[in-house]
Amino acid sequence: MKTKTKRVVIFLGTFALSSMIAGSWVPSALAQDPQVIDITAKRFAFSPNEVHLKAGQPVTLHLVSEDVTHGFFSRPLGLDETIPAKQSVDVKLTPRTPGKYSIICDNFCGSGHGNMKMTFVVE
């Protein structure tokens, strides 16, 4: 094992031990991994059509297309994704400002495309 790697392991071990002694390191700390939110895109709707998020809390959006290529777009949230037909993409997001945000499909997917949208409620 290289010296640098050893130092990292020692540091992390010391940090974990001291945290356990202090009572602050509990398995729930693992929950700091971004929450994964599954969102399905299918002409001409997202499911679910409303998701509640907490400001400052990172999440991973697991976006799945069940049919054709869709878009996943919100200017204020900085989202501009393409979900290829019958594939999935993962997108990391940390919403900063509370509010309601409209997410639209911006990849033309047929006649009902103009109404394909969902809402993020950031609290």
Partner: protein
């Protein structure tokens, strides 16, 4: 080069979104006889072989041929009525441009083709035969513009007319609302032969700025397009897509949206959701009309709004006549 030219008085592309579309006048008569004018006229003549001269043209948008049902049961009636009105204009326009969504999309290729043929048949009844098109997403997004090209030609191109440089810019056929790096590079190259004072008219489908992104009223790389256009002092952008009129300024450029020839959308500042304006049987062409802008004088422009009406069909009886008279 010393800029003696007053830009505002040089290029009078008077436009405004205009009912069934738009009637624009390029008013060379406002140019006067200044030395700067002569200089610019010479530059334009060298750049495109033709010096600026007065002319009038019309913009039509969002005919959605093939759409038939709520909220607008009249199909192509407004388009046909607009053709009648244009053909009766006392001053005939010299060209007509269509800013996208000529047809409504369909899953069936043969139905799409039939709609494009029907569009061309109606358009062919215009007295003005100098027509230019750019696609909307309903025409071209589903197959990358392949079928559109068979009927209407390239999706991005440019041409010169009466000393004005016109640019058709496709911001829909990629599926996503974007022009794309390749076409932006083409645009930059296309403009290199012109002086910064050249009169330039861009016609496209979607707004090239964030008008209302959550209603999909934007072009994702519109800012890059505008960066390419920003050195040019006389840029007018004509677009459709939003089914209502709008006027917006970005630097030197002005952006005009034309109303549609099918249902209108409301003002996004007034309503929370994107829902078409309800059909009014008493006024079937409500929100459609024509605005004629005459800016040939040095004074403030004279604007005349004329609502597209159906004189021969009025009231409750009239709407029934209209519906029976052959809605496409």
């Amino acid at each position: 080069m010393k800029r003696e030219l007053d830009r505002r008085s040089f290029l009078r592309i008077a436009g405004a979104s205009l009912g069934f579309g738009a009637l624009y006048q390029f008013a060379g008569s406002a140019l006067g006889n200044s030395r700067a004018l002569a200089q610019l006229t010479g530059e334009m003549g060298r750049a495109n072989g033709e010096a600026p001269a007065p002319f009038t043209f019309v913009q039509l948008s969002d005919t959605h041929v093939g759409f038939n049902g709520p909220p607008d049961p009249l199909g192509t009636k407004a388009f046909e009525r607009a053709v009648q009105v244009i053909n009766k204009l006392p001053q005939q326009p010299e060209l007509v441009i269509f800013s996208g969504d000529l047809t409504h999309d369909s899953e069936k290729q043969d139905q799409r083709a039939a709609r494009m043929k029907q569009f061309k048949q109606i358009a062919s009844t215009l007295g003005v035969q100098n027509m230019h098109y750019v696609p909307g997403e309903h025409d071209a997004a589903i197959d990358g513009g392949a079928l559109y090209r068979e009927y209407f030609g390239e999706t991005s191109y440019s041409f010169d007319f009466r000393g004005v440089h016109f640019i058709a810019l496709d911001n829909v056929s990629r599926g996503k609302p974007a022009v794309g790096a390749e076409h932006i590079a083409w645009l930059q190259k296309d403009l290199t032969r012109f002086p910064k004072t050249a009169p330039i008219i861009v016609f496209t489908h979607r707004p090239l700025f964030d008008l209302k992104p959550e209603w999909e009223w934007f072009t994702s790389d519109g800012d890059k397009v505008m960066n390419v256009l920003s050195p040019y002092e006389n840029v007018t952008v004509l677009y459709g897509h939003i089914h209502r009129d709008d006027v917006h300024a970005i630097g030197h450029s002005k952006h005009y949206a034309a109303r549609s020839l099918i249902f209108a959308f409301p003002d996004p500042a007034q309503v929370p959701d994107k829902k078409p304006v309800a059909f009014d049987a008493a006024r079937p062409f409500k929100n459609l009309g024509i605005r004629v802008v005459d800016q040939t004088s040095a004074s403030a422009p004279a604007i005349n709004d004329i609502e597209l009406t159906v004189n021969e069909y009025s009231g409750t009886v009239g709407i029934q006549q209209l519906l029976k008279s052959g809605v496409a």
